[in-house]
């Protein structure tokens, strides 16, 4: 038998970092951490392995198929962190009763992901920051400014920022009188906006979701709470899990009432298309009735500030279809890309995340991370 048959090979897609690449990575990491620490961020280091539930709760399960999850030797379901955000938020709240109370933290280290679509396993090295306790433009600006500063410190010469705002799209739909189910449908499909047949697929899904009623008349509009309770009392007395009879009956009655006509859904899609197609100049100069809300005006100020910081050499694009494939963003959301289109990092606002993780906190939460694995690749070593 050939001795080489016994060799254990490196796992596919897991990269070795040789001396020159590691030196570059450490240089960027140290520069970014030093800058963030000097800006008032505390450096923390949560464990790589956490309870799987932490990450499932964070992404509402949407990353569960791309997270390394397994039973540990004590039969606990654990995951290797797919990113830092959930661990860092847990760490902040775990320490909130101690002397080391903090609301701005920075971190660095590896995260682990599996991409089912490409069957790629990956270890990605990140540096980033989380910022708790502020809502509004000032904190959005601080987040973006820090991301830009870290990129500049990394030595990436040319990059561009795609900036969107999930909150504005949601507000826009709700203000037009469409319900949460229509808003959720459209937000969940924003990422496909540039794909062929986006509108057709959206209408197809709305139909699948029973969001469209076939006629303007609806015989069931008059269903009362009591009549539903009476008609379904046997089934409603069974185990309902975490839902209450009231939740179910109200939704049952509301289900019929909240349906929209085909004309109405088309009108909603047209309105969303209008805002999605705007470039930055069009948005900055359009303060008509539809886009004259407080959050739109604040977002305009933020865009102008970021344009000033970036100057003329680095570009800022407005991209309302940006969702970063994660359902938890509720405000600004951004990607930083190299000129070749490689995503070097990103972040945004996710104010609901602490409460989703079980903490009684609604004062704002946002963060960003740079992907040092990609950044070193783009810079060259």
């Amino acid at each position: 038998m050939n001795n080489s048959d016994n060799k254990v090979l490196r796992l596919n897609n897991f990269e070795d970092f040789g001396p020159s690449r590691l030196k570059l990575l450490k240089y960027i990491e140290n520069n970014c951490l030093e800058y963030l620490i000097n800006s008032g961020y505390s450096n923390v280091d949560p464990p790589i392995l956490e309870s799987a539930d932490l990450f499932f709760k964070k992404s509402l399960g949407s990353t569960s198929s791309s997270t390394y999850t397994f039973m540990d030797l004590e039969n606990q379901l654990v995951s290797m962190r797919p990113d830092f955000t959930a661990s860092v938020i847990r760490l902040i709240f775990d320490n909130s009763q101690k002397k080391e109370s903090m609301n701005k933290v920075c971190y660095s280290g590896p995260v682990f992901r599996y991409e089912p679509a490409t069957s790629k396993s990956m270890q990605i090295y990140q540096v980033g920051a989380e910022f708790l306790g502020q809502k509004g433009n000032d904190s959005d600006l601080e987040l973006l400014s820090n991301s830009i500063k870290c990129l500049d410190l990394s030595g990436v010469k040319n990059y561009k920022i795609d900036l969107g705002n999930v909150g504005i799209v949601r507000e826009f739909i709700l203000e037009k009188g469409f319900g949460n189910s229509i808003a959720e449908l459209i937000l969940n499909n924003l990422g496909n906006f540039n794909k062929k047949n986006w509108e057709k697929n959206l209408i197809y899904k709305a139909n699948q979701l029973n969001l469209i009623r076939l006629s303007n008349n609806n015989e069931n509009d008059s269903l009362s709470y009591e009549s539903i309770l009476n008609d379904y009392k046997d089934r409603l007395s069974l185990n309902l899990g975490m839902r209450t009879q009231k939740d179910i009956i109200n939704r049952f009655a509301g289900k019929v009432a909240s349906q929209v006509t085909m004309e109405e859904i088309k009108e909603c899609i047209d309105l969303v298309k209008k805002i999605m197609s705007m470039n930055i100049e069009e948005f900055l100069n359009n303060n008509g009735n539809d886009l004259n809300t407080k959050s739109c005006n604040e977002f305009r100020i933020l865009l102008k500030n970021i344009q000033n910081i970036l100057g003329e050499k680095r570009s800022l694009s407005l991209n309302f279809s940006l969702t970063r494939n994660l359902a938890y963003y509720n405000g600004i959301v951004f990607d930083v890309k190299s000129n070749q289109g490689i995503i070097l990092g990103g972040g945004g606002r996710y104010d609901d995340l602490p409460s989703r993780l079980g903490y009684d906190f609604d004062k704002g939460c946002l963060g960003f991370a740079l992907n040092l694995t990609k950044t070193t690749e783009v810079i060259g070593y």
């Binding site: 198929s65 979701l209 069974l238 839902r243 939704r251």
Partner: protein
């Protein structure tokens, strides 16, 4: 893989509904398996002396083939896609072998009278989110379920991976809804669960799978077997 073995390894289900179907399928394709006793987990093929048969749990076969422990295998397509979809180490030679039918179905508590279709889950997810809770779905097939639910636009579900007794999950309280294999739906009904009208996420039969790592000295035999399987 055991490098000392110079035979082509075919892994077949050792028990359950797939076991008899697999032997009968192979026989129909002219590959007659000889098993010394029901308890013995190895077998031979008269027509191919350089082939050995190993009987394994059907759920273990996809990864065993994908990792090169076996060269060919018969398993449920659902099991294979759950564990190995997109893998570069193995592939499906032939699916829909006309046995081992199963359906992966989403079911909710029967008392949820407002939920009749997958689409309703979008709103229920939102209701849970508003109450700072997550809708939890127990399943043995988290990858397939995730992909299929995403196609329907249901993204805010926490998948709880469980290995058995899923129908009791909503009553015990570790999940709110389930996605499980069912044939008649009787067990679900007895546990006050109701399959959704459009809740079939996956319709599966047995599949013949192959490793991509077949030693050159076994190529000829492996090609003969694939030819027979595809007839």
């Amino acid at each position: 893989m055991n490098k000392a073995s110079e035979k082509l390894r075919i892994l077949l289900p050792s028990s359950g509904s797939l076991a008899d179907g697999a032997i009968s399928f192979m026989s129909k394709k002219g590959i007659n398996i000889e098993k010394e006793s029901d308890r013995k987990l190895v077998g031979k093929v008269k027509e191919f002396p350089d082939v050995e048969i190993f009987f394994q749990r059907s759920g273990d076969i996809p990864l065993s083939v994908d990792r090169g422990m076996g060269h060919f295998g018969i398993t449920g397509l659902d099991r294979y896609l759950e564990n190995c979809e997109g893998s570069r180490n193995s592939y499906v030679v032939k699916d829909s072998l006309k046995f081992g039918d199963s359906k992966l179905v989403v079911a909710v508590p029967d008392g949820w009278i407002d939920v009749t279709s997958i689409s309703d889950l979008v709103e229920v997810c939102y209701e849970f989110k508003q109450n700072n809770n997550n809708l939890r779905l127990a399943t043995k097939y988290p990858n397939i379920v995730r992909r299929k639910l995403e196609e329907f636009g249901v993204t805010n579900v926490v998948l709880v991976t469980a290995s058995g007794g899923l129908e009791a999950a909503p009553m015990i309280g570790y999940a709110d809804i389930i996605a499980d294999i069912t044939v008649t739906g009787t067990t679900m009904k007895e546990n006050n669960l109701r399959p959704l009208l459009d809740g079939v996420l996956f319709d599966s039969q047995a599949a013949f799978i192959s490793s991509n790592d077949i030693p050159s000295k076994l190529k000829k035999t492996s090609e003969q077997i694939i030819k027979k399987i595809n007839l």
